[in-house]
Amino acid sequence: MQWETVIGLEVHVQLATRSKIFSGASTAFGAEPNTQACAVDLGLPGVLPVLNEQAVAMAVQFGLGIHAEIPEVSVFDRKNYFYPDLPKGYQTSQMYHPIVGPGEVEITLEDGSTKAVRVHHAHLEEDAGKSLHEDFHGMTGIDLNRAGTPLLEIVSEPDMRSAKEAAAYLKAIHSIVTYLGISDGNMAEGSMRCDVNVSVRPRGETTFGTRAEIKNVNSFRFVERAIEYEVERQIELLEAGGEVVQETRLYDPEADETRSMRTKEEANDYRYFPCPDLLPVVLDQAYVDHLRDNLPELPAAKRARFQDELGLSAYDAGVLSASRAMAEYFERVKAVCGDAKQAANWVQGELSGALNREGLAIADSPVSADQLGELIARVKDDTISGKAAKQVFQALWHGEGESADAIIETKGLKQVTDTGAIEAMIDQVIADSPAQVAQYRDAEPEKRGKMIGYFVGQVMKASRGTANPQQVNALLKEKLDALC
């Protein structure tokens, strides 16, 4: 039987606010346990929540970024359950009236084709603390620093049909939130976490199969692998005449498998109800418009513009728009050198190669976009040759000069384009090479083209590589042919 995979994702994004969603405690990562858990985060008797305006703005920016409806009113609800890392015994979330309504995310697949994945909604909520299971005499230690960190939970429709699509969707979300600057997107530190709903059904079937939810998958690669494993497991199960159980599973990257979490003795009953300590959040249109007007260009729009206006290939446009840092670097290089294709070649070639070798992010590049742009401009205006340009790049990389011009100057790499000077060198080479001149003269005219290489080499050598090779070629041909 042919099987079709159906995948939906719930992505939790920690918003990059300075303080927590309902308190003035810091959200900085990595502090000593419980030193960033204030009275509100601890749920001390009598404390009350007050909503962080930046968390609201960031959620709305995300909504605008995925062309979602932004409802005028959103409401916080309480999700009630007991867990030691949940100090109040409820999580403040948005069940019935989320801040972001239905929207759409465009994903790009490996073959360069695109697909729209619908977002059901996105809502604001507070993160929980962390349970540490190292040995505290058989006890668990609770750190509530993370409790109250703002989360945006982005819930997709079950629109993805393969592990690759799911990974591409996650990457697209990652790139949108980092473009917007609303999250650092650091998956290793848990700034982005993902629950995956997976089911399979016979191809052609329109109803969904029973799904399993894989909790807390924390890297692009693991999302892909967890889904691949889970799909295979479900298909095997069904083909053997079994049934998929609706349950929560965990992905174990070491064993590369998903495992059922200990089945709870009862189904959850979260008893959602509107949080009486918070009032409805009302967004006026002017506020939303203001955020919309100040939205940066997002990856999908940038990619399209790179292709349509700059004439880049789909592949180049995809790579150069994948992250905001990359796109900004590229656009600056392009602006300085005035040549999109050359800028694309250099950023993806020489620069990316060097960054990869040293394991550096583009933000940490030793060669600035201005420096690289100027370097390319010097190739374009024939100040230096392409070969010399690579030397200049290396020198910039190693900090041997402030700018391409300075390095060209100190290293004497400036191309000689003065016809008189080149002619003088050519005359000298011809005078010094009577045997080669004779061979040239005696050769069939169609073979002479190859033979000119020797003379070019000699002239370039004489100029220490600074003579313009096109000029040398043309002038040599002229002079040699005149001797024939």
Binding site: A39, G43, L44, P45, G46, L48, V50, L51, N80, R271
Partner: protein, 486 residues
């Protein structure tokens, strides 16, 4: 000294008749002498009180006194007080020393007041008799066999007994007004959002409101001026200017339109209470007010709606008491589930458990719409009743409670206890202000007249109450305390 109102005490202090320290020592001595019988305090903070009194005396000497300099009062044990046990009347918080001050506690301290301690209350403010306290019931100073009302019973009894001239209470369904009525003092529940809830331990967040309990409406006006105002730490606190509540106390009442809700004079109202209330209304007529009957047609749905909304919010608000970060924790828990279940079974009393169970049940899957959503709809109808009535009249008047204080142990059945709050509960659902003023006695126990106004009409209510107290002396009556008579 202990019979004086806050207003009189303020005058005496500023005239130098006695110092705040002398006043504080006198009241501490009275607490020492009488509170064994009354049980109105959970914690007496004598040392801090004397230090605060000395500071107030010193500030006065320097000419830097705040609006209520050196005036003693007491705080219901529901308000967090830094460094002082804050129990909320519960075993769960018997060992809890609050690490911060509630918003109103800060304000009262800044105003120069001297807190004598924390008053007894029904556990987590759930009750109408003060019999639900982990620290034992409070006795009514008018009759030690009677309840003082609840949940702010300790505050009411302490003020009535002259242990303190004023106290802070909270009112979720009548918890200021009913004990004020039972103990013969004046108690004001402000408009929801008028006074910050920050640091006031939550029972039912959309209903809870703090307010003053004192010997006169004028005293309540002075206190409300300090308590009211926007607090950025409470999202439900209202950003709205605070008027001078004392400014219009003396405004004449001629032309005042009083409405008597038909539903507040029906079955279950004791004839003595009704008689006292109708007498009080006559006083108002003699002051130039006109009286008409109005209807609040959804009155009888208030208790059912309240017993969905309040327990639902409470069941969630009280989930934080889990034995992990503060408060009671059971001995040697076998596992996490055991920690939760035993801690909460041991830490909470019966009425609290009852309401947690009701709230949990009504919020659970399959019941939410039928109970919670339905109750919220009814809540809107109840509010509309009041808004419609206030289109026609300036204030509403009626009894604060269907009977005077009942005997300790008289109401065993929870539902019959709940029905006590028939005249007070709708006011919290509507969020409007209400005040109870002494209006006579029934069988030797005080009767309270309840006066209601529309949202933010506190100044009007205080004026109306004050004018009654200029014309009558019910609020000046004092109970004879056992040892004094002996």
């Amino acid at each position: 000294m202990h019979d004086k109102t806050l207003t009189e005490l303020a005058a005496a202090l500023s005239a130098g008749e006695f110092s705040s320290r002398e006043l504080t020592e006198h009241l501490l001595a009275r607490i020492e002498r009488h509170d064994g019988a009354l049980n109105s305090f959970i914690t007496v903070t004598a040392e801090q009180a004397l230090a605060a009194a000395d500071a107030a005396d010193a500030a006065r000497a320097r000419g830097e006194a705040g609006p209520l300099p050196g005036l003693p009062l007491a705080l219901k044990d529901i308000f967090c007080t830094r460094g002082v046990k804050t129990s909320c009347g519960s075993r769960m918080l018997d060992n809890f020393t609050a690490p911060y001050d509630a918003g109103v506690v800060e304000k009262l301290a800044d105003a120069g007041t001297v807190s004598l301690g924390k008053t007894n209350m029904d556990e987590f403010a759930m009750g109408s008799s003060n019999e639900n306290s982990f620290f034992g019931p409070v006795k009514n100073p008018w009759d030690l066999g009677a309840v003082p009302g609840g949940s702010s019973g300790g505050s009411a009894a302490a003020v009535a007994a002259g242990l303190v001239p004023a106290a802070l209470g909270t009112d979720t369904g009548g918890s200021i007004r009913q004990p004020a009525a039972f103990c013969g003092i004046t108690g004001l529940k402000p408009t929801y959002g008028r006074v910050s809830r920050y640091g006031m331990i939550a029972y039912a967040s959309s209903l809870d409101q703090a307010g003053p309990m004192a010997r006169s409406a004028a005293d309540c006006a002075h206190l409300l001026g300090v308590l009211a105002g926007h607090d950025l730490r409470d999202s439900t606190s209202v950003a709205r200017g605070v008027p001078d509540y004392a400014a219009d106390l003396d405004a004449p009442l001629s032309g005042l339109k009083i409405g008597l809700p038909r539903e507040y004079f029906g079955d279950g109202l004791s004839p003595e209470v009704e008689g006292a209330v109708r007498e009080a209304v006559k006083v108002y007529e003699s002051l130039g007010a006109s009286v008409r009957e109005v209807s609040l047609p959804h009155t009888h749905y208030a208790i059912p709606a309240y017993y969905v909304i309040a327990p639902a919010e409470a069941s969630s608000n009280l989930s934080r008491y889990d034995g992990v970060r503060f408060g009671h924790r059971c001995e040697d828990p076998a596992d996490l589930m055991d920690l939760y279940k035993r801690t909460r079974a041991e830490g909470f009393g019966e009425e609290v458990k009852r309401r947690i169970l009701i709230g949990t049940h009504t919020l659970s899957e399959g019941f939410f719409d039928a109970y919670y959503k339905k109750a919220q709809k009814v809540r809107r109808l109840i509010r509309q009743d009041f808004l419609d009535a206030f289109d026609e009249v300036d204030v509403l008047m009626g009894p604060a409670s269907p009977t005077p204080a009942f005997d300790l142990g008289a109401k065993k059945d929870p539902v019959s206890m709940y029905l006590q709050d028939i005249y007070t509960i709708a006011i919290n659902l509507a969020g409007i202000p209400g005040i109870s003023v002494p209006a006579g006695f029934a069988n030797g126990r005080p009767v309270g007249l309840q006066i209601l106004g529309t949202h933010f009409a506190e100044a009007r209510l205080l004026n109306v109450a004050h004018q009654f107290q200029q014309a009558t002396d019910w609020h000046l009556r004092r109970p004879a305390l056992a040892e004094e008579t002996a």
